[in-house]
């Protein structure tokens, strides 16, 4: 080109060509593995595949059986209890801790490390630690009894009615540290002047937090929400390490149902049907939210 060519509008496809080329592998992986894998799973959930996948369709049989299985119903209930409570508690406790941490206290670094440290442990380790702490013979119950309170009973992991709360405790212990850190980062991002203005107007501190600071931290809350929610849906290893679904099937979760039926029961069709239901649940929550968040108006 010698300069006399008319200035053409650059082709949209070739804008930022480098970054587009760089993201091709990721796009392929996402399309191939996530989307392709999901579609494959959904397709085979309508078959009677046993140990090995095969295409002999049985309609909705697998789903009918799934929703007639008490273990699956228990799993769903447990996930609902665990999910709702862990969402509420980790947000509330995380925010409270962050707000306390934000009061210009001494040894902030030390406290932050202590609270965040559990997050460095995997769910398997967390589960084993709490299995011991909640063990009636060696854990809290044993210690309190050895102090002289002979009738003290605290054995959530061995009581089918409350076992899911025993798992919730371990989950919160592990997860709130991260929520605290995210919240703290959000709080630090609030302009000093806003606090000053609130103080000049004589607004009590708790009201400033509730009505000024929290609404301003919306993006942080959304991020945190997504992180917690994705952790909830896939909860599996914590249950395996702590109770392996017991006592009985009182602490079963959907992810464990999927694994057990795909591999232990050698019934891929049933496992696929269960995992498709999990995907559907996530989609029902995510799609309206994504529509509200990103749809309608464009954001820079």
């Amino acid at each position: 080109m010698t300069g006399h060519a008319p200035a053409k509008r650059p082709n949209q496809l070739f804008r930022n060509l480098n970054s587009k080329i760089a993201s091709i592998p990721m796009i392929l992986i996402a399309m191939g593995i996530f989307l392709g894998g999901s579609l494959w799973t959904i397709l085979y959930s309508f078959t009677n595949s046993k140990l090995l996948p095969r295409l002999s369709f049985v309609g909705l049989d697998q789903y009918e059986r799934l929703w007639n299985t008490s273990r699956w119903i228990v799993s769903i209930q447990n996930l609902a209890i665990y999910g709702i409570l862990s969402l509420i508690f980790s947000l509330v406790i995380g925010f409270l801790l962050a707000a306390l941490m934000d009061q210009k206290i001494r040894f902030e670094n030390a406290f932050r490390t202590i609270f965040l440290y559990p997050f460095a442990l995997s769910f398997i380790v967390t589960g084993l630690v709490w299995q011991w702490i909640l063990n009636p013979e060696f854990g809290i119950q044993g210690i309190v009894r050895s102090l002289g309170f002979e009738n003290f009973t605290f054995d959530p992991l061995y009581n089918p009615d409350i076992v899911i709360y025993g798992i919730l405790i371990a989950g919160l212990w592990q997860g709130t540290g991260l929520v605290m850190c995210l919240m703290l980062a959000g709080l630090r991002g609030i302009d000093e002047d806003i606090w000053k203005a609130a103080r000049v107007d004589g607004i009590p501190m708790w009201r400033t937090y509730l009505f000024v600071v929290i609404p301003m931290m919306r993006p942080v809350f959304i991020t945190t929400l997504v992180i917690i929610a994705s952790g909830i849906v896939k909860v599996y290893d914590l249950v395996v390490a702590q109770t392996s679904g017991g006592p009985g099937n009182a602490s079963e979760v959907p992810a464990k149902y999927v694994y057990d039926y795909m591999f232990q029961a050698q019934n891929l069709g049933q496992g696929f049907a269960a995992s498709t239901m999990m995907l559907l649940t996530v989609a029902i929550i995510i799609i309206p939210w994504a529509y509200l968040e990103f749809g309608g108006k464009k954001r820079g």
């Binding site: 046993k50 140990l51 090995l52 059986r65 299985t69 008490s70 273990r71 063990n135 009636p136 013979e137 054995d155 061995y158 089918p160 392996s244 679904g245 017991g246 006592p247 009985g248 099937n249 009182a250 694994y259 057990d260 039926y261 591999f263 232990q264 029961a265 050698q266 019934n267 049933q270």
Partner: protein
Amino acid sequence: MNIRALTAALAATIVLPMGVAKATDLEVTHWWTSGGEAAAVAELAKAFNASGNNWVDGAIAGSGSTARPIMISRITGGDPMGATQFNHGRQAQELVEAGLMRDLTEVAEKGNWKEVIKPASLLDSCTIDGKIYCAPINIHSWQWLWLSNAAFEQAGVPVPKDWHEFVAAAPKLREAGIQPLALGGQAWQSGGLFDTLVLALGGKEVYESVYVDKDADVAAGPEMAKVFEAAAQAREMAAGSNVQDWNQATNLVITGKAGGQVMGDWAQGEFQIAGQVAGEDYSCLPGLGISPYIATGGDAFYFPVLDDEEKSKAQDVLAETMLDPKTQVAFNLKKGSLPVRGDVDLASVNDCMKKGLDIVAKGNALTSTDQALSADSQKQKEDLMTEFFSSTSLSPEDAQKRFADIISSAD
């Protein structure tokens, strides 16, 4: 491994490839990890190493339900081991049908397996379309009640002769602060306990029509209702045994903290390791002391198809070794199981194993549930039973209804 052994092993890897007779490594996966089981596996490894090959131990902890998915995904994923344990029956059926397992018919004919393996149902479970795909190694049966003599002495009641006496003695045991029935929390243990009650209290006809013929009417009928009543009693007796693994539960019996445990004859190995003597320290009641029948399943080894010629040869050697009379005796004495050969000398067996051998010799061995039901139906049954045994909110009547549903759709 100490330094010297390590150096020797390293040196060996350099020298050996130049030699003519090279020891072939064969990885063998299994889920035998408790004390008695590990001792038995060591016998197998010793016999195989003596043949000039090298046993690479691939033990997977956490019982069969944890190990089997790992084994299956390795085989289907294209990273097969040299040989792998499965229970007799249908656990590996689809792998065989998919052509992933080696045909052992030649080895079997050479070793005359058809003649020597008793009961014949064991080899039948290995046979698909007239070809033999696995080497049965032992006979196990679920229908045993293990009792701690010390616990009953402490409670001041004579050691029970059958299940009914055991149920009657349960309140006394509780009074003495002893757990009447030890039951681990894993689902397969509740399932096995229930199947044992079906055979012992329901009898042979009920057992066979429910599990082998999958007759849902019998499963919902009055005979089974009695079994469910008994299961509810067992549930009360088992309340409070906060252990997970079967050998932890057996340990409660060994230490006299629990009165008894319903567990397969593999529990025998644990008593042996603890140095206890049958009849003196503990008692065993096959068929819960009521039924003259036991259901025999067991373990078998399958050999995945491998590309490596050397390894395939080593697989044949291993299959032969496993059925060798000497290995059979050494292995099964440690394991507490019965040998699959009817022609081996078992002078050194203890009281409990003699009882088992007598039952098999009389031909009172029935098909095990692992042979009769698919893994899928087994799992559904286990899920129901573990729910039933852990929570009193599920009534025997409701449980029976759900049990009949499972049987009606079982395959």
